[in-house]
Amino acid sequence: MLLSVVVREVQVPLLASLLLGGSAAKLVQVLRVRSIDAALGPTALFPVYLRRTVAMVMCGCEFALGVGLILTAGTIGRGAPTNAVRLGTALLFLVATCALIELRGSRPDVGCGCFGDFSTAPVSGRALARSALLAVAALSTVGLAPLQPPHRGVAAILPLGIFAVELALVAALSPEIGEGLVRLGYAEPCELRIVPAERTLAALHRSSHWRRHASLITAAEPVDVWRELCWRYVVYPGELHGRPVELVFAVFLRQHRPAVQAALVDAVTGNVLPWPQGSVRPASEADRVGRLVRAPAPVFSAPTDPGIGIPAVPGMRSARFGDLPFSRDL
């Protein structure tokens, strides 16, 4: 069998599978969002009141042509009906190519929508090339004799190889492949991990840093807790040799044995203080409870923001907006 004939024969199943895949992806997207309006793509070129109709027609055409290509691949509808389906397919891809060119110019932010929500990337040269390639492939099938039953053994290698090569070419031209691969491998990185603050506090209370420094703490609850990327910061008020201090803990957001960093800060000046050597021992539970009862709230000698109980520090230009950049001096 001539190579050119084999190449032309391979186009029929390839086109049919792409058309059916495209219509199925659109249908899945519509079902998930529960609105046909979600299937945008080239429908964005049409007036609002026509978009729904155009989207339905596009999806229906793809499905009908995909099924038609399969049904007419053999002897069914031999002649004019077969050629009509294949010409229709070529016409669809030609129109799609022109629509994508127009879409690229007028709505550069909209994806082609070819495979539903996999096709959200803006229309690129690759998508245009793919559409044009498929139009040529569809044109090449016009006038082709009915396809023979699948070959067996060695004879099947040639059509399968051509099919694989062309599929790889289409995949290389498909931005949707990247999106699909991205969706396959999901692992939540620490900066996106949702870890409740209670769990962070529990991990902190189990840590050696906490055991070493807990005797300095004078309140049961932290005065501030916040998160940045993979760390959660916890601030407790404390007292060292009669001076108000703050103990800052940074707890890594991991489920088991998270890393903990700690610092001791002078509550008045904001200076980092060295940890006291030898004088700090793990406090007993009774001792800690007694401390909390005696001093339920920290007392600061510095000016304190009444809203949040955090002392102002020297260097801040004012106790309120001083450290925020302003566009003018209010």
């Binding site: 969002v33 932010d109 991205v182 916040w226 960093q261 809203g307 566009s327 003018r328 209010l330």
Partner: protein, 381 residues
Amino acid sequence: MPEDRGDHACCDRCAGAAAAARIARRRLLKAAVFRPADTRAAADTRAAAHAVAARHADLGAAAGPRDAAVQHAVLAAAAALPPDRARARFATSGELPRAVTGEIIDVSPHFLVLSHGAGQERFALTPDARAWRGGPLEPAALRPGDQVVVRLHRTARGVADRIWANIGRVTGTIVERTRDGLLVDEGSTRKRQFVIIPPRASGRIQVRFPSLEPGYLIDVIGLRRGGALEGLVPATSQPAYRVDQMPAPALVSGHVPNAISGSATWHEPADDPPGVLGVAYPALDPEVGCAEGAGPPIPGNVRMPYLSIGSVLLVRNDCTGSSCLLPVTGCAAVGRLFNDRCVTCGTSPRSRVADLTQASFVALGGELELGCFNATITIGG
């Protein structure tokens, strides 16, 4: 006209006075925990180093020498930063075109006199100066009493470059449609807004926002008239989905890149003072209740790491090249509902990565009436 809701909550999420003090305090305390070498460059890049340190720790750095891992990460981050990053620091009035907000006292073809909290200020108007009040107009056509945002000339501080009069913006979910207009929920951190769409702007807005019904999103720019906004310009295209039918998030793996590109928008000052330079971030720690609605945070197509009030971002206007470090001063949960692109200069990746204060947006070279600029944010600055 429906009444505004008065139960909006702020707590840890608004750029108020308490938040400003908290931002400063958090920066200081965080620096105390991860204190790098006392070089200027290292100090500037301290926050960026945290991300690297976290990744080292997450990748299973030795359980014992955590300090060494963090220190190594700090140094690695400092060494890896490009020179422009190493130089970057908080925006100051001397480096960026300044944004001034106030009320017009007097205007002539050559001068503009504003009144604001610090008194009155007089600016020269050059022939190049442009103004906007619902549309472009000559600066001399502005009226006393107009509330304006003025961008000053980059090189001459006493010269007005761009003037926006009575400009306002409403971004959120339509909760009610009446004969008079639309009641819009801008999220739990802000009051509800009422939008009136005049007949002359109706067609223009409906082309981009075909579904002005409860449950759909709206983002319009227009003129402030009393407590309502006269919507004149669509700021984006309406997402096809309803807010309660958000598309599923993309399943992705690996760490979030340090630099994230997308669309940077602006918002009107609510509890924060008009001149503050800051950014409302769309992905605050879920613990502070920034996400709109019940349930887990609403996912966008772009993965954004969780941050808090006081975190620092390097925001770059990809259209002009201007960039500066800005603190996170608020929550922009509504921004996550829009999964749109900005096409001010080219096509940005999908998603809103920053919701800047008016002053920040203007200072970074944004045009308020366009609604957005293509931006790249770098976590940690």
